[in-house]
Symmetry: C2
Subunit: 512 residues, 2 copies
């Protein structure tokens, strides 16, 4: 750990569920270890959130259960598996599905905390210096605003680019090289892709208004002022982005945006004796790691069979996080596990490939350890994530909808046997790990900075204080046009006056 | 020093003259100390450049002398002293003066190196990994392009914002809150200032084309391809900006822009016994430091008298870097020196104020040590620099043109006796020094990064590969309009056809 001054502060943490919590947990624990008083608040029903070391945990009741959350997730997965995501329309459909179900639980969770008077009173009494929250769910941002404490937002990206809008970055993201969400395009697009990307830009605006309508209404109602989620987020002091530019396409940043991509990679341990024996078992052929993330450990039987069939035909051994039905004659080179130490396995010298859904944590563990990937995007931003690696020549992607053992075999053999994948990945990994300061240290530094200085006002562009007309200089342009028109008008009138005088004189003379 | 891997590289350094060299010297010496082979190249005639520790020095002849450079500088100063810079027109005049004389020497220096076959052959033989240069003068950028090595640019800002243009930052700098060069505005402008700023934006475009015409021509001629200075700079791998956001107004950054403001501040030593005695001599009243930068140590007698008269009336002692004429009854509390240890003095607990011309080095030493300032901008970007501190409430500014002892006294007493200046400066200083990594380490890291990885391609936005039409999606918009027009045309034609048919039928029926 770096040696900045460790003045203890009081930090409120309101994380978001699912894999989001994994990214935040290590920062929160490090902040606690450094002597800060860290209070982590989450709902009683959640997919993955739980107590963390060196912190205090507070929970509040919500009007749904963990079972309901899980059922919802399974429903979503089934829908995804039944959509041919390779077409534009389907891509869009999957976007709508994700966006439609999510807000419901998100709003119920938000109301669960905000309207729980006891909890809110307790939080107020703590007198926190700052809040660290994931703006994927609005519960943290609204609570921070209610408590009038500066906010540190931690995320990887935000649907609809609310992060960019809220930071008042005067950076238009031209559709010519900035791919839109859920298009799955890279930053180098064909003409056809650019047309689609431009159309998506227009459509996005409508969709996003719908997506945040509930949040805007709830925030306004609770804070008793007319506001929007975007406006709340624009008060953020510092944004911690869980990416760097070995993954994300280079794009402009505001001074209060900090890149902390690859934050969990450093934590690596040795394998158990049993695992070590298994992965060494295939000798020089090495092994393959396969997971679909912390939220998906099952697949329909037919789909699972395609995987087993492909694995039967490769010389590598396979470690698969899988709890679904197993066919009778499952191949011997496959080891099924309920949970697997993903980063430890990816750091093993014999690993040859990583089959992943393209969640950001897995991607960074892959980059960090330099392992080529076969990617099967499921939902959310995964389709876009995947494209970022495919365009760098370090991964192949397949659609889970029409996956067959043949397709999987082709992709797997490609990333394992074609040396360019490993070479490019090794280079990307070297660049990723070559940094002046560890991302965890950076995240801790900026969180403590906000606590020490009660915000980060010096990083806030003056644009925040301008209204729409002023920002775009419309008043100035109007004023200059007015002057120009006046000058032209006066000049023309004067000329006409002179001309008439002269004309009259000439006529008079002629008459005479 | 931080502990990144120190793999020795070969670095070419082509600095720029004057105070520019001061900023680069410490980085260059640190790079040499870390085992890199550093070759610093500069002309035989220069104002301030000289050998540095741990590096190899190469010089080349130029067709001007140091005396000519100094005479030119003195000329410029005299012109500035005779212009009432408080009016808009004069501000502009001073801009033109600076911009007109500069390019002449800059081009002669550039030609001096480029057309010196021996020197260029020697540089080629070194087989450098990268070049570190200050783009204020084009000699480094053209040499780097000629040698086909990646470039690290180090600067504080560039007239005409060539830095922003060249980095392909899709960040328009709205005139509503981004003050233009030489306007001396802050980021919070009145309506009148915004009008002026908008007009300046338009005018700047013309002026800048003129400013770089000679460079564009020389670069195209030497490299034997049609190019511009802006295009050369756009190949830059990393930009090291000698600012941070306690000084500069927050604005968007590209991922290859690194802030290293305050790089020289850490180097502090104790005062000599003589100086220590002098500064302690006025007891609790403390002392004032006064310099007009490394290039100006003289003033016309009448102007100097105003300073002496003001200093006579304050209880503080004054240390003044001054080599000009001294009046007979010069006050006893003033100590004149040929050179003074500025940063050591500003770090002394008894310092009360800093009278400065607003050069970036002095400003950062002031911020670093938390000393309120009275600022007398002379040329270049100093007028703009000053405004950045005045708008933060840590400095007062005066025009040197119409400076009187009364005006100076009012300003000095204000920054010394009104506690808000010191308070705000202490806060600014605390924020400036509260950083996760030292700017010198950051500069060294990124320079070595470029040497290690032969550039920083992963930080380069795809925008560089698009032409103007593609970048702005004009082809896509044209295509969409074409489709829209076709659809409308076909619809209207069809409707008219149907309408006619219907109309004819009705007429027929009527006739029948």
């Amino acid at each position: 750990m770096a040696s900045f001054s460790a003045e203890a502060g009081k930090l409120l943490v309101i994380p978001s569920d699912g894999s989001h919590w994994l990214g935040m947990k290590s920062i929160v624990e490090e902040l606690g270890r450094r002597g800060n008083q860290v209070v982590v608040v989450f709902p009683e029903a959640s997919l993955s959130m739980g107590p963390s070391e060196q912190t205090t945990t507070l929970t509040y009741p919500v009007n749904y259960t963990k079972a309901e959350l899980e059922a919802n997730l399974a429903d979503q997965l089934n829908t995804i598996l039944s959509i041919d995501i390779s077409t534009d329309l389907a891509k869009f459909q999957s976007f709508i599905i994700s966006m439609d179900v999510l807000p419901m639980f998100i709003l119920r969770n938000t109301e669960g905390l905000l309207f729980n008077k006891d909890s809110m009173k307790k939080l107020q009494d703590y007198n926190f210096d700052a809040i660290l929250t994931d703006p994927f769910e609005p519960v943290g941002a609204i609570t921070g605003e209610y408590l009038s404490i500066p906010a540190i937002y931690m995320l990887i990206n935000h649907p609809c680019g609310v992060d960019t809008l809220a930071s008042q970055c005067p950076c238009p993201s031209p559709p010519s090289f900035v791919p839109r969400f859920f298009t799955g395009f890279s930053d180098k697009m064909t003409f056809h892709q650019r047309v689609e990307n431009t159309l998506m830009t227009v459509f996005e605006a409508f969709l996003c208004r719908k997506l945040f309508a509930g949040t805007d209404e709830l925030a306004s109602r609770y804070l008793q002022k007319d506001t929007t989620y975007k406006e709340l987020l624009s008060h953020g002091a510092v944004w911690l982005f869980r990416y760097d530019f070995t993954f994300e396409f280079p794009k402009p940043q505001m001074p209060n945006m900090v890149q902390i991509g690859g934050i969990n990679c450093a934590k690596k341990g040795p394998l158990t004796k049993e695992l070590e024996e298994f992965v060494n078992g295939s000798g020089e052929h090495g092994f393959v790691v396969f997971t679909l993330g912390s939220m998906v450990s099952q697949l329909p039987e037919a789909k699972a069979r395609e995987f087993f069939e492909a694995f039967r035909q490769i010389p590598q051994r396979v470690l698969w996080r899988y709890t679904g039905p197993v066919p009778e004659n499952a191949p011997k080179n496959v080891k099924l596990m309920k949970w697997l130490p993903q980063n430890d396995l990816l750091g093993h010298p014999k690993v040859k490939a990583f089959i992943t859904h393209g969640g950001s944590h897995g991607i960074y563990e892959g980059i960090c350890n330099g392992v080529p990937m076969v990617m099967l995007p499921l939902f959310g931003d995964q389709g876009d994530n995947v494209q970022r690696l495919v365009s760098r020549g370090v991964a192949e992607t397949l659609s889970i909808y029409d996956l067959t053992s043949e397709k999987l075999l082709v992709a797997l053999r490609k990333v394992i046997n074609d040396k360019s994948y490993k070479e490019k990945m090794t280079e990307l990994s070297a660049i990723h790990r070559d940094r002046p300061i560890e991302p965890l240290d950076l995240a801790v530094f900026w969180t403590e900075f906000v606590m020490r200085h009660k915000g980060a006002a010096h990083l806030r562009p003056a644009a925040h204080e301008l209204n729409w007309i002023q920002y775009h200089s419309l008043d100035v342009i109007g004023f200059l046009i007015l002057i120009l028109v006046t000058v032209i008008f006066v000049t023309v009138k004067s000329c006409m006056f002179c001309f008439r005088k002269f004309f009259k004189k000439t006529q008079k003379k002629k008459k005479e």
